[in-house]
């Protein structure tokens, strides 16, 4: 199982701030694909991914227990 975190527009599109999903093995790219299929109303092209609170590349692997956050373009300040 992995923990997914949604924010801002994606949180609204998903209708939730977080969820846990079953996950055996795969990369960040695989998870983004799963999310894009699951929430087609949101465009993931500009989304970055953080695993365990660090930005990662799409090739990074995701392991059970990880926290995966989808980070839309930030707009703090």
């Amino acid at each position: 199982m992995i923990h997914l975190h949604y924010f801002a527009g994606l949180k609204e599109a998903a209708g939730k701030a977080s969820e846990d999903i079953q996950w055996a093995d795969g990369t960040v790219e695989d998870i983004v694909k799963w999310a894009a299929d699951t929430y087609p109303a949101f465009d993931f092209s500009a989304v970055q991914v953080a695993v365990n609170e660090e930005y990662v590349l799409e090739t990074e692997s995701v392991k059970p227990g990880d926290h995966v956050a989808f980070i839309p373009p930030v707009s703090g300040g």
Binding site: H5, F7, A8, G9, L10, K11, E12, A13, A41, F42, D43, S45, A46, A50, E53, E54, Y55, A69, I71, P72, P73, V74, S75, G76, G77
Partner: protein, 144 residues
């Protein structure tokens, strides 16, 4: 007081000026980002800020570390408020002290630029006739 924090509480700039002031400092700069009423001809009623809090605080602290490396002798505090903010409320405070003034200005401006690039915080503008998450996002509720 935490020098790198995301909070729902109103921000008090004076606390952060005091925090970075020390005998080695000759210059203190403070930036306060405030909620502006009019943007591109649209009137903002209020703003809603959201953050991935643990990662945002980590990133703010990392910016602090970078600044201390790039501008030796500096001290830094960076705090961001989240939740519903009214016009003129302070959303972000950056305080930097440094032995000399040039570094204090440069480091402060570096901090706000980094915040706008890497810190997971989002702003939603609430207008009279709608709302929108800022930052070029692609999901517009009601636009489906």
């Amino acid at each position: 007081m935490k020098p790198f924090e995301v909070t729902t509480e109103p921000l008090e700039p004076a606390r952060y000026i005091e925090y970075v002031t020390h005998p080695g400092a000759g210059a203190v700069t403070l930036f306060a980002g405030t909620v502006r009423e009019w943007t591109n001809g649209k009137r903002t009623m209020y703003l809603e800020y959201e953050a991935y809090v643990p990662m945002a605080e980590k990133k703010l602290a990392e910016i602090g570390v970078e600044i201390k490396q790039k501008w030796p002798g500096s001290r830094v505090a960076i705090v961001h408020r989240i939740g519903a903010l009214s016009i003129s409320d302070i959303a972000v405070v950056i305080a930097v002290s440094s032995p000399h003034r040039k570094a204090a200005y440069e480091a402060n401006e570096y901090a706000i630029e980094q915040i706008k690039k890497v810190v997971p915080i989002w702003k939603k503008e609430m207008w009279e006739d709608g709302e929108e998450w800022i930052g070029d996002q692609s999901y517009k509720p009601g636009s489906e």
